[in-house]
Amino acid sequence: MKRSQFIDLDRMRKQPTFELSKLAVLVGGTMALTGCGQDKTQAEIYKTLDACKQDNPEHADVCETAYKNALESAKNTAPRYARNRDCGAEFGQCITGNDERGNSWFMPAMAGFMIAQAMDIGKPNRSCGPGSYVSYNGCRYSQPVYSGYGSLYGGYYGNDGTRYGDIRRGNKPTTVKVSTKSFEPKPTPKIAKTLSRGGFGSKAAAKSSWGGGRSSWGG
């Protein structure tokens, strides 16, 4: 057969009569890259703050800072979905987020946090790079992780969908090798004050004064 085998006609109708059907979600969940030249470091993923403290009884403060850091970062960097079921299909448990402008969305609940030793361990503490913070033995990074659902089940995933490793039973941390790049703050803000509009579209406007009857800017 040379044509689409199935088209969901209810979805195509512009006056939908009932809830659209749910489609199977197929996400690769690419493994963290292991290319050459990338700074790799060991990291631990903890399910909870307590699990971190149990593992590092001497350094509860490191756990607390890492946890708070990750929680704060999740607010801004967690993947966002317009529909709860789209979020749920990938992460199972989702929560709502919103901003001061009244926008709201669904995002996965943090399933754990990752702590890594920064590569610049030997440098004075005050020069910790972006996204990292000072601890007793050098710079540390932390970031939130989420647990996959459905075809992603059993894995820890980062903000960008990178699969970091498998979720373990109990409180023992999952140890993984990661690129320190993955901890750098993502610079793209979600909202930016708009300074001007209308900087695109002038060519079309100029050309549409010709002829007048244009129906398309495609081809």
């Binding site: 996400v27 695109f200 050309k207 002829g211 800017w217």
Partner: protein, 388 residues
């Protein structure tokens, strides 16, 4: 390849309303025309159209690979200097593409001849991917067409699968989809792609090209001040590269569909480059840059602007005399010349085949008919079937 009259579905206008197909009639003239259909054999579809489409696409990528590395060729392609590095990087990173449409002159027998590549902003997608498909389903169900009828329209399936692939690299991001205000047809195509992306579970948002903003920190923003990070635009790259916000494109760091390297393919300079790299290829027509025109002495030629849309500013030349032309607002970037190859004529109609690709896979065909040798945006769209 036959053109066969058939009774229209009596309720098709009502069905069009239900499905939101609003541009079936343009300026009072029919655009969707189901008073006839074209019939192909499976061999014609697979050997004469599908296989060459995928092969030519690969040949086109070969051209991109040459052009992005050559200042001289980038100049010939009229690529603004500001975008040359961006195009090279976009190509080196193999930024993913979504779809394209190759246009062929094909009469059912001789090899299909490539007329051009609509690689950046192809339209008539909804009609090809969905509306024609529905026509076939209904006409078979109602007994107007034999049970064994098929059609080459796997576009919708392939588009949704492509969006699923793309989604895995852009986790949780919103895909903005954009076209100009005031064109029902472009909005139809854009909304259709939004439906496909939605079906793949992507969060989507429409924004008109004219409403895009310059956000503090050199981002592109939508009307809610949301930063655009991933965008489908049904708006030509060559326009965007020459407008006020062109300098924002690089810092705004948007992942575009189509990617900026497609500027090379949606450019008529592609045609002489293909002929240079693959001279004599059965699916190509000879084509020349203005400077090589001496090689085309005595040939009947078609002059096409390097950048143009929907058959505008095309001239047919015989012995250096213009014997037919379409007017329009294009041509300031110069012209190329292509050997004239007549479109097949069925009755009073000149017929053009569009052959679709989703990424690098052939995904269907569409048929346009015009009363003129130059197919324009006023031409009609007809369905097709595969039988035998």
């Amino acid at each position: 390849m036959l053109r066969i009259p058939i009774r229209e579905r009596t309720d098709w206008r009502h069905t069009a309303d239900q499905y939101g197909f609003k541009f079936h009639t343009l300026d009072g003239e029919p655009y969707w025309d189901e008073s006839a259909y074209y019939q192909f054999t499976l061999r014609q579809i697979e050997d004469h159209l599908e296989a060459p489409t995928e092969e030519i696409h690969q040949m086109c990528l070969e051209v991109v690979d040459r052009v992005v590395r050559s200042e001289e060729l980038l100049e010939r392609f009229q690529i603004p200097p500001l975008f040359r590095d961006q195009i090279l990087h976009s190509w080196s990173a193999r930024e993913p593409s979504l779809y394209s449409r190759l246009d062929f002159a094909y009469n059912g027998q001789s090899p299909a001849k490539l007329l051009e590549n609509n690689a950046d902003t192809p339209t008539s997608l909804y009609e090809s991917a969905f509306w024609s498909w529905l026509w076939l389903e209904q006409q078979v169900d109602r007994g107007a067409l034999p049970r064994g009828s098929d059609q080459f329209t796997s576009l919708q399936e392939k588009l949704i699968n492509r969006f699923l692939e793309l989604k895995s690299t852009r986790f949780g991001q919103t895909l903005h989809l954009s076209c100009c205000k005031g064109t029902e047809e472009d909005l139809g195509t854009t909304t259709y792609l939004k439906d496909c992306a939605d079906a793949a579970g992507i969060t989507t948002k429409l924004v008109f090209i004219e409403d895009i903003g310059h956000g503090e920190g050199d981002w592109l923003t939508d009307l809610d001040d949301q930063v655009i990070t991933w965008m489908f635009k049904l708006y030509p790259w060559e326009f965007m590269q020459r407008e006020e916000y062109s300098e924002l494109i690089s810092p705004a760091n948007v992942s575009f569909l189509e990617p900026v390297w497609k500027t090379i393919l949606s450019n008529k300079a592609l045609l002489p480059m293909l002929w240079k790299l693959f001279p004599g290829h059965p699916n190509l027509l000879p084509a020349y840059f203005e400077s090589d025109l001496s090689k085309a002495t005595g040939m009947k030629l078609v002059r096409k602007p390097i950048y143009s849309r929907e058959g505008a500013n095309i001239s047919i030349l015989e012995d250096n005399e213009v014997i037919m032309q379409s007017d329009g607002p294009y041509g300031e970037e110069g012209y190329i010349y292509q050997g004239f190859h007549p479109l097949p004529k069925f009755g009073e109609n000149y017929t053009l085949i569009g052959s679709w690709l989703v990424d690098d896979q052939a995904a269907g065909i569409s048929i346009r008919e015009d009363n003129s040798q130059i197919t324009q945006d006023t031409s009609r769209f007809l369905p097709h079937v595969i039988l035998g």
